[in-house]
Each structure stands twice: as structure tokens, then as C-alpha cells.
Assembly symmetry: C2
């Protein structure tokens, strides 16, 4: 491919930095590895009709009632009051979620998704669907922003690692003039031999491990366990055909 | 040292993230490796009486006139109109700067410095004075924020690498529950064998190399060439005794 015509590939490490990027002329990949975007692709992979991401518990309850849908979301590591399910990908096997609508409220990921609403396209990414994400991004030939949901705007390890993993896979197809992308890729190469052990250094690991969620973390760091592409259409995430 | 009583060590990768940190209860290290903070410690090491950091070219001219001082600063890689000197550490040998006052305007570093004005203490850090910085931080026993000046709020490689180098040297003395700090340290360990080669991947390298500044970059990536501690007192950076 001609150097000059390659689209840009950039990494935005926190929603608080998104204004520095040209969202309107880019595909934005929403990354919330622990655990929103891992759970979204898992639910769709297991046959959910769609996933509706909402910002608040109130919206979740209200839309869930209107659509007779499954409502899910956590606050401070517990299922939020008024909702019935949590953020774990293991809560959404085919026998439970097949054919159903999932209304999901998460703080970090949903916030970023709404901030990126003017993007050319919004998709969600996580290790369980990394191959589908990379194939899609290469096929589109558009500018890409890998948007880390972070933790209350703080840069986090798991989203940065996933962004780095994507950069390492697709960079030949893009112009990568972004220090965050190069840093994320370097970090990923340092960690990839054993992502789970590396993640033990991270702040979020300890938050989740306290709740006994080590199996969730392992699943969320494993490639292609639910390898489909969630794509946003009219405010709803559906499985791209 | 008792685990519980250790002060915090955190890395803020961009001024746009500084509001997430407890600046008021921390020492803030201003990091602008290419080239403001490298030049500041070099000028002080070579005998400058003080360095006055200012935000605009106008202030620089005005204060320079009042104090009969050396005025310096660049915009877009050139000495700014109305000023006489640039950002290169090589412009400030003892025979030129000894006993003089340097009024310096830089965009990224000065902005961060003003944002951090409520900190317990502000110092500046760069590879040429890394040992002085680390010794000071260990000696103070206070919370520390390593504040990267970045590039127009974009995370950059060189400031992140320096933050990582400091983390790797002093982390035993601190509580490091900050993914940015862990990521920066990991990045530094990947790069430290040959920082200059690693920096060739970074966006700022290409901006400066276009201006023929590779020797500046090499100097700015070399440890302890001007190993003193610039500390902010009443808006002026002086050499800590």
C-alpha cells in the first residue's frame, strides 16, 4: 500500500483526551476490557439479539421494562439496585441470552461511547473478539481511534494492553504517528507472554480479585473466545453480519 | 519502611489529566524532556542565577527587559520573534549563562507548571538531572506526581520514558498503585538499552530531527549531564542547595 494513502491509527488512552482526536473522520473502537466490552461481544456471540448500552441505572430499568429485556449493570462491583444481572461474561450463556435483548449500563465504557457518537462508525473491542476487530479495521481503510474507556478517566493497564495488541496486529496497514500507540504496543509486547501475570500489577486487578473474579479476568484476557464484531446501529450494538 | 506509611507515587501522562490527581498534597515533578526541563537544569548547572518560566513571548520580552535578563523560547521550532535565544541546552554554557537570569517561555512545560501551582513543591526533571530528582523525592517522604508536559496535551514518548525511569529508581520507597506508573516503567525497561534508537519511533523525534537537533536529543536522553535540582521558589526556578 502506498505510504501516503494509509489511514491513521491512533490510541486515545482516556476519555479525557478524546477531544484531541479527529473523531468525526474516524472509526472509534470502544475498549473496556474489564469487563463491559468483553461481556458485550460474549452476549452477542451467544445469540443476544442486541445490546443496548445506557449511561444510568434509571435508563436501564426503564428501557428494560419497555422492551421486556434483560437489565444488567454494576456499581462498585455489585449488581446495581433495580437491575437483575451483572457485568460478568459468564452470566450470558446461550441458554440464557439467546434471542434476548440486553440493556447494559456501565460507567466508563458507556461514557466514552456517547462521547464518540459523531464517529464514522463505533464498534467495541476486547480480547475475546480481537480478530474480528482487526479484520474489520483493515477491511474498512479508514482512520481508526482505539479508545480506551479507562477508569474514571485514569489510564488503565488492561485497555492500554488491548490497544497495543491491536496496533501490533494491524499497524502495517496504517500510518502510526502516535506515541500512545507506540507505547501501548511496546507495553503489549512486554506483557504478552503472560498477560494474566502482568495484569496482577494493575490497579483494576486488585479491585476485581477482591470480588473473586479471577476467572472473569482470565477470560477477558484470552483471545477470540467470542469472536464476533459488535457494531453500533441507531444506538444499539448488534452483531455485524 | 512500613507498607502503610509509604507516600504515593503516580504518573500523570498529560496536563489534560492533572485534575484527576491530588496536586495539593503532592510534590509535582514537571517533565518536558525535549527540551525545556533538560535546558533548565543545564542552565542552572552552568551557573545561571535563576530561570523564570513564563507562558508567553510578551511576558518573556517584558520581564527580560525589567531584569536585563537573557530571553529565550521557541515557537514551531524557531526562536520566537522578539526573543534572542532558543530551547537548546547547548546554547547555555557557563561562559554565557554564568550569573545571569534566564527568562524562558515554553508552551507545554510552562502550562503544566502553572496548572500545578498549588502543589506542596514543584521541581523539574529530565534525564540530565535524574539522580538529583530521585534523591530529592526519596528524601522528602511526600506523595509524588510525575507530571509529563506532553505535546499539546497528547501523551508523548520522551516524557513517559523519563517518568518510567524515575519510577524504576525510587518505587521501593513509595506506594505505586497507578497503572500509568507501571506502564511507564515497563516502557522504560523495554527502551533503556538504547533510548536514542527507541526514540526514533516517536513523533517528536522527527519534528526535532528535521531541524538538525539530533545532538540535542542525545544529550537530553543522557543521565546526569547536569545533575542539580531546579526547585520553584516564588515563581522562579533556582538550584536547590
Amino acid at each position: 500500500m502506498d505510504e501516503i494513502t494509509k489511514p491513521r491509527l491512533e490510541v486515545c488512552l482516556s476519555p479525557a483526551l478524546l477531544h484531541l482526536f479527529d473523531v468525526k473522520n474516524s472509526i472509534v473502537v470502544i475498549i473496556d476490557v474489564l469487563r463491559a466490552t468483553s461481556t458485550i461481544c460474549t452476549a452477542l456471540y451467544n445469540g443476544a439479539a442486541k445490546v443496548i448500552p445506557v449511561a444510568t441505572v434509571e435508563e436501564c430499568v426503564s428501557i428494560g421494562r419497555q422492551l421486556d429485556a434483560i437489565t444488567a449493570g454494576e456499581r462498585d462491583g455489585k449488581i446495581a439496585e433495580g437491575l437483575l444481572h451483572g457485568n460478568s461474561p459468564f452470566e450470558y450463556p446461550t441458554e440464557f441470552i439467546g434471542g434476548k435483548v440486553l440493556v447494559l449500563t456501565t460507567t466508563n465504557g458507556t461514557k466514552l461511547l456517547h462521547m464518540a457518537k459523531d464517529a464514522v462508525q463505533i464498534i467495541t473491542g476486547s480480547f475475546p473478539n480481537i480478530s474480528a476487530v482487526c479484520e474489520y479495521l483493515i477491511s474498512q481503510g479508514q482512520n481508526v481511534i482505539l479508545g480506551c474507556a479507562a477508569w474514571k478517566d485514569r489510564v488503565n493497564m488492561e485497555d492500554t494492553l488491548f490497544a497495543g495488541a491491536v496496533v501490533s496486529r494491524i499497524k502495517e496497514h496504517f500510518d502510526v504517528n502516535c506515541d500512545s500507540a507506540i507505547a501501548a504496543e511496546t507495553l503489549y509486547h512486554s506483557a504478552k507472554g503472560d498477560l494474566f501475570s502482568f495484569m496482577k500489577k494493575a490497579s483494576h486487578f486488585h479491585r476485581l480479585a477482591r470480588y473473586g473474579l479471577e476467572e472473569d479476568i482470565k477470560y477477558c484476557l484470552t483471545e477470540d473466545g467470542a469472536n464476533i464484531l459488535p457494531i453500533l446501529r441507531n444506538g444499539e450494538l448488534i452483531k455485524e453480519k
